[in-house]
């Protein structure tokens, strides 16, 4: 439907900046407002742009594979948590779509500079830095920044370019094309998963630094301010959200461990004895400060300080997933060592989940005599050296840098390959939270906990038992708005906003905010349908690129894989049930038995592309 243009242009800058690294040239194109109306921003708009501009079946490492930086309509306003940036691309780690979210201040700064999105294509002939000050975009030689850790490239950009700039950069791991190299901004904020850092590296792009002096308009600013004040007081600063401020994600350690779902010693157990030394209580003892992302009232970030081998370690995190994979999954219950490896991963620019997964695997293979990587479960000294070796591909790091799947293939131990579609799984073992099985297997980017969160129902609230699949598949689609736990459809619209997971926002509240953008009321059903539209678009993209079957490592669901100790001992979903649940999922989705969306479903949802 037609919407008056002046209404549309509030909240959006209306511009997309295209950067071609090969020719060192740029162009600005108008944001496609038809797509913006249909897909809002963030995840949805990203998927639509990816559908259009990712060459079908492109090699992820090819210069033609673009990297998309997409903001949401509320970035750069007072809407709490909505400062997030989504980085999207066809992932070199999984060969399918990857949308990775990061807080901090990059997306708002991008909009103040005048761009809703930045799309990077091509490959520079040598390491390059791109600087953006409003409409002035420059390509600077990046050789002098080669090898700099993320904190130093950021401070170099503040010194050499603009003291107020915000930087999105890679560390050494991105330069060596580590498949799980991440992008960093505001030092501790990472677009962590799926190897976007490696894609920057493959384009010889060390960093994009941006400073904007423009504005984001919201129509009637005083009215908008007053309404956001009300929304914050009523819906953001509530007990449901403030756990994230009071404790932050380490609060999950004891809860998940207690359910037997904490990946331990390369997923060989679901309970970690040493968790008591890396739980929320332990981190509170070394907490120095609470910090926030740009425009966020919740301030969940924990700034910690300790010493490791006589050396000071200070920084944000680790968050729960890091504690699980880089801690418990490696048998590491030493908080100082974990702080150190977390810091190393931050500085080297590599995802902590995948790093923890591959180190856990290396320990397991060494213990089993399959290979000798010189490190065993719980061995702090050798463990703390590995992130640097992996990022630089030195010593044993050269092999570990293959990643979990390729390493298991090389040594012919597929049963140890704990990933889904090539993405190493995060910190919830489905044997202690059954719903996580279908959550991982059907995730649009491989093993990921951010699309739907059955852990919420099964462990945190206890609303549903954690050892049955009954009623789980419906929840995986729709979530549970009553207690704020997301399903795939709801996370899809939420990540269009782009609201953070830590605000348990409801469809009704989203409607209240979107009303300011589109000047109309959306019903709850319409909000959920927008999410479902985005999810189906993502599925079409993955089918186009040739996605693998929706499955999981057998140990996580087969009877033979049940744990032998801990709270989840003896429990398994069962092979037959897993197959049934997968088909139920397709059926609930309106997809055929191979997971292909039906024409009727796509038409109903208003998806505007077809395979």
């Amino acid at each position: 439907m037609a919407i008056e243009r002046e209404v549309i242009l509030d909240f959006y800058t209306g511009n997309v900046l295209w950067i071609d690294m090969s020719t060192k040239s740029t162009r600005v194109e108008p944001l496609n407002m038809e797509w913006a109306e249909r897909y809002i921003g963030g995840k949805g708009l990203l998927f639509r742009y990816m559908w259009e501009y990712v060459p079908p079946k492109v090699d992820p490492w090819a210069p033609e594979n673009p990297v998309f930086l997409m903001s949401g309509p509320f970035a750069g306003t007072n809407v709490s948590t909505a400062s997030r940036l989504v980085v999207g691309a066809k992932s070199p780690a999984t060969n399918i779509l990857n949308d990775s979210y990061v807080g901090g201040s990059f997306a708002p700064e991008m909009k103040f500079a005048g761009y809703d999105a930045i799309i990077v294509t091509g490959k520079a002939d040598e390491l390059t830095v791109v600087t953006i000050r409003d409409d002035v975009v420059e390509f600077r030689p990046g050789k002098r920044y080669a090898g700099l850790p993320t904190s130093e490239i950021e401070s170099a950009m503040r010194n050499d370019f603009d003291k107020d700039c915000k930087t999105l950069s890679i560390g050494p791991a991105g330069e060596t094309l580590l498949p799980w190299a991440c992008l960093s901004t505001d030092q501790y904020h990472k677009a962590g998963r799926g190897g976007h850092g490696a894609l920057f590296g493959s384009k010889n792009l060390k960093a994009i630094a941006v400073h904007g002096t423009g504005s984001v308009t919201v129509g009637d600013a005083p009215a908008f301010l007053a309404d956001m004040k009300r929304i914050h007081d009523e819906f953001v600063l509530t007990d449901d959200n403030l756990w994230a401020h009071e404790e932050g994600t380490p609060v999950l350690v004891d809860l998940v461990n207690g359910a037997g779902a904490l990946p331990t010693n390369n997923w060989s157990a679901g309970f970690f004895e040493g968790a008591k030394n890396i739980n929320s209580e332990s981190f509170q003892k070394i907490r120095l400060k609470k910090r926030a992302c740009y425009q966020c009232a919740i301030a969940c970030r924990n700034f910690h300080g300790t010493t490791f081998k006589g050396e000071e370690v200070r920084g944000e995190g680790p968050e729960y997933e890091t504690i699980a994979l880089l801690g418990a999954n490696c048998g590491i219950g030493d908080i100082d060592a974990l702080m150190k490896t977390n810091e190393l991963c931050d500085e080297l620019g590599m995802d902590t989940i995948s790093t923890g997964a591959v180190i856990g695997l290396a320990m397991d293979m060494t213990e089993k005599g399959i290979a000798d990587f010189g490190v065993r479960f719980g061995e702090v000294d050798a463990y703390a050296k590995l992130p640097t070796l992996i990022a630089n591909k030195e010593g044993v790091g050269a092999e570990l840098a293959l990643g979990v799947r390729a390493l298991c293939k090389k040594y012919n131990v597929p049963e140890l390959s704990m990933e889904a579609k090539g993405m190493e799984m995060p910190g919830y073992d489905p044997r202690g939270s059954f719903g996580m099985s279908i959550a991982y297997s059907t995730s649009d980017r491989g093993g990921c906990h951010m699309r739907t969160y059955p852990v919420g129902d099964e462990i945190l609230s206890g609303d549903m038992p954690n050892d049955t699949m009954d009623g789980k598949v419906e929840r995986i689609l729709d979530g549970n708005a009553a207690n704020g736990f997301i399903g795939q459809n709801f996370s899809s619209i939420k990540f269009c906003g782009i609201w953070c997971d830590f605000w348990a926002v409801t469809p009704e509240q989203i409607s209240q905010m979107l009303k300011h953008v589109w000047n109309k009321e959306f019903s709850e059903a319409e909000i959920m349908q927008m999410g479902e539209r985005v999810w189906n678009l993502g599925r079409l993209f993955n089918l186009r690129e040739g996605v693998e079957p929706d499955t999981l490592p057998k140990a996580l669901y087969a009877e033979s894989g049940a744990h032998t100790s801990g709270p989840s001992a003896g429990k398994s979903i069962g092979e037959a049930q897993f197959a049934t649940s997968t088909q139920n999922y397709y059926s609930f989705r309106g997809w055929d038995e191979n997971g292909v969306p039906s024409e009727a479903k796509l038409a109903e949802l208003g998806v505007d592309v077809r395979l």
């Binding site: 030092q187 504005s215 600013a221 966020c296 009232a297 301030a299």
Partner: protein
């Protein structure tokens, strides 16, 4: 005399104050022309707040050769936030320094002397602009949404450089 301060130990670095400030004064979100700043070093977590001390400083007024920076009476009633509940502070009467744009010729003398770099040339109007305490309802305090602390708060100095001698 009343002025706004960013308390660096309490501040989480969310920049809500800058955003609200610019939206209120500029009619759009444009934090580069906010009237106060929370400078955060992302790596070290150090924060340096910058805001106008009003008549407790008055350096801009002293430097102005055009008498363009005027002392005006103001009544401030700060409304903050505490765990989602509005926290209304006591009403404070005092003075605030305001730019008279008709007299300001954008000469820059005040920009040079401001210790906090919070009086500057407006990018669109070629006039100085600064904090005016939002006519007594400071938006920065209202939108300081740290759950349990007000990191941006109203401070009242007993000493007043200008008026003490008056």
């Amino acid at each position: 005399m009343p002025h706004v301060m960013i308390l660096r130990k309490k501040c989480s670095g969310c920049h809500m104050c800058e955003l609200a400030c610019s939206a209120y004064h500029e009619g759009a979100y444009r934090p580069s022309v906010a009237r106060l700043f929370s400078d955060c070093n992302p790596t070290t977590a150090e924060i340096k707040g910058r805001s106008c001390l009003q008549t407790g400083c008055s350096k801009c007024q002293e430097a102005c050769t055009q008498d363009a920076i005027e002392t005006r009476e103001i009544t401030v009633k700060p409304a903050g936030n505490f765990a989602g509940k509005e926290k209304i502070g006591e009403e404070v009467k005092g003075y605030v320094l305001v730019v008279n744009e008709e007299k300001c010729n954008n000469c820059g003398d005040c920009y040079d002397v401001c210790p906090y770099d919070v009086i500057k040339a407006h990018p669109d109007r070629e006039k100085a602009f600064k904090c005016d305490l939002c006519d007594g309802d400071p938006q920065c305090i209202k939108f300081c949404q740290n759950p349990y602390v007000l990191a941006v708060d109203l401070k009242v100095d007993k000493m007043d450089k200008e008026l003490a001698g008056a």
